[in-house]
Symmetry: C2
Subunit: 406 residues, 2 copies
């Protein structure tokens, strides 16, 4: 086993960022597409709307016929009929004439404005317009939403409900998305027992299985749980072998030196190559990252908080690439004022769990100093603050950026 | 049909907030629980950790034995063995003695600190401690994470990966959650055709079906689509009848007066009661809200942007209550500087779509003034700004709060 020195966070991310991935694709129907990453640029073959439409209930007019019209001196126009909803408007609006339209109806030829029904007085076959319109008023013009030839959604976008609205508007209901990455998860440690069992003294229940699996799940990954490996190289290797074929293998546990060594030995025995062994971060230092069977493998620390922070900071960026969304889009940080000093160690990038409180328009940020084995502390935190390695602590009153967990 | 005047946003939300709901519950397994709303307080029947554990690899000691120890004058201690991972520590640490522990191992009786292996020099059967520890150092004490009797998760919480970690730590893998609400969705309008068909001139494809269904879906609602209703009272009533049994019925379309009237008539003909008919908001004014068969029904505007804003502002708060999470927890708004003036109308609450740009630590907010029928404008927006009804516009340079869409 070659000994690797722990490296700083930036270098670790660089190694992870350069790990080659080639996400596959599949065709799906729009009904199943929420949150998927689109694998093609979507180009519209149509103008949307496909015809100019009224935005209001009223009368389509030549705007010039209504200029200067007001309550006390209305414009008089003949009414030549009404456009039927969902039908072609086959009447032409000529000077001094108008045609009734409902919201969404096609604007008849000749008209360039719609007077809202609120500004109309009907008088037999004609109307009085009590407020003039400008040319274009209350009309959504053909192609105003989407123009034929427009790239409406870029390859690599995560499909939101709005994107699905855009796709439906142009009639694209089947398209190519990236396949969901498949992760295999292994817990390790002689002291770890399944969550539904009663631990004997000295044992504790598996936590990381649930936190890691569900963070990945909510980030669009299919997760299979392989099992709990005992702290011997052979059992770890055996479990890793069962994970073969996954896009990413994650082994949690191994915060003790013995466990870490077994993990490294098992990966190398299977033909893998360790690329990172320790990152200068807190919590989470004992991270392992390597390649195995041309896929990637992570060794995650055993302490639940450390494990989660490593997943959030180092695994999720790789997940974004496996998903086909490139670097992905980070949530905007929330800016707030620190309510107390936070000490930190020079040369180590630290992640501090914090709670956010909002008083009027000011956001206050309070750190949570619980130990890294304390899972309950995370359920109560809103996010975390990063203290860069070249900095020694943060001071009360400083403006800090909080990375929200949700 | 009784004529109802449009009301302001606050009054509308009050009516919606007071609509009686009684969400049902079901038992589920932890594997299926991500994002579900828990229907019981979770009380721990155990201390977590169930025994005091070492946070590091090292030697469990009586801290007092190491006071003042340093590189040049180390403390000498006998080693009485090692605690096996996952086993009871059955050695007692007496004065002048120590016991080896790995990370996560049980702390033996008598010890009250752990010296990290980095500060240990081994010398036969004994060790030299080169840095003293304080009492409690590097130990996670029994019950330090969770105390027996603690309420660890409150009824009505949305289960995050962290909550699932907490549940697994105390061995609770089956529990009661609220049933997912069931929504039925109807599109209406003579001009609306399904997304996978080719519209004739005068027709457009159904957009709201996809935007509304997917906003609800990502908020934990099961959605069934009933169909597209023609603009006659009978067809709308027929479709609503098919939606019977849903917790919430949503009918999109009906931005024209005729359509709105048919919708109201259909609801009333089925025995429903209209409680809101028009809200003074922009976009989205023609909202209908009522009760039918002791459940609720919404009439949503037809313009896609208006429809979405009504769902976000008025439907989702009700969805939160149907889900059992009470008022729900709103995302923290992002604060930024407005890059341009925004006009607005006194007496109307306005929702302005905006894009956010971050330059260094400053966030700039730029409005998107597209028409409310323009769905592509939403796919490019990051969130929206609310202009209260008593205000006339916002000015360039003002600090505004953006409600993020994602």
């Amino acid at each position: 086993m070659e000994f690797l020195k722990s490296i700083n966070s930036k270098d670790a991310l660089e190694i992870i960022k350069n790990f080659p991935v080639s996400p596959g694709t599949e065709n799906i129907h729009i009904d199943e597409a929420l949150g998927r990453i689109i694998a093609q640029d979507i180009v519209s073959e149509e103008d949307i709307p496909p015809f100019s439409r009224s935005l209001v209930d009223g009368y389509a007019v030549r705007a010039a016929d209504t200029y200067g019209a007001k309550e006390t001196s209305p414009a008089f126009l003949f009414v030549d009929g009404h456009v039927k909803m969902g039908k072609k408007a086959d009447i032409v609006v000529s000077e001094g004439h108008s045609v009734g339209v409902s919201t969404g109806a096609m604007i008849p030829e000749g008209a360039d404005g719609v007077v809202m029904v609120e500004y109309i007085r009907t008088a037999g076959d004609s109307i009085e317009v009590t407020k003039g319109v400008y040319s274009g008023e209350n009309i959504c013009f053909k192609g105003e939403d989407i123009k034929k030839g427009d790239v409406v959604i870029k390859k690599g976008s995560r499909l939101s409900p709005f994107h699905l609205g855009v796709l439906s508007s142009i009639g694209i209901t089947n398209f190519s998305v990236y396949r969901r990455p498949r992760a295999a998860l292994i817990s390790s440690g002689d002291e770890i027992v399944p969550a539904d069992s009663t631990p004997s003294i000295g044992e504790i229940r598996d936590i990381n299985r649930y936190t890691v699996a569900n963070i990945l799940k909510e980030n669009g990954v299919d997760v299979s749980f392989i099992g709990i490996a005992r702290d011997i190289k052979e059992d770890i290797a055996d479990k890793i072998l069962k994970a073969k074929g996954s896009d990413i293998i994650l082994i949690s546990g191994g915060s003790s030196k013995g466990e870490r060594d077994y993990m490294v030995e098992a990966i190398e025995a299977l033909g893998g190559k360790i690329m990172i062994h320790g990152i200068n971060i807190k919590p989470g230092k004992p991270v392992i990252f390597g390649s195995l069977w041309d896929r990637c493998v992570f060794g995650l620390p055993g302490h639940p908080v450390s494990c989660i922070m490593v997943v959030v900071r180092f695994v999720l960026p790789l997940v974004s690439r496996l998903k086909g969304e490139g670097e992905g889009k980070e949530k905007l940080p929330v800016t707030g004022i620190l309510t107390t000093n936070i000490p930190s160690i020079y040369g180590v990038e630290e992640y501090v769990r914090v709670s956010i409180e909002r008083i009027d328009r000011t956001i206050y940020v309070t750190p949570n100093f619980s130990k890294t084995s304390v899972i309950s502390s995370l359920a109560e935190s809103d996010g975390y603050v990063v203290i860069p390695e070249e900095q020694e602590g943060l001071e009360k009153g400083e403006v800090v950026e909080v990375h929200p967990f949700y």
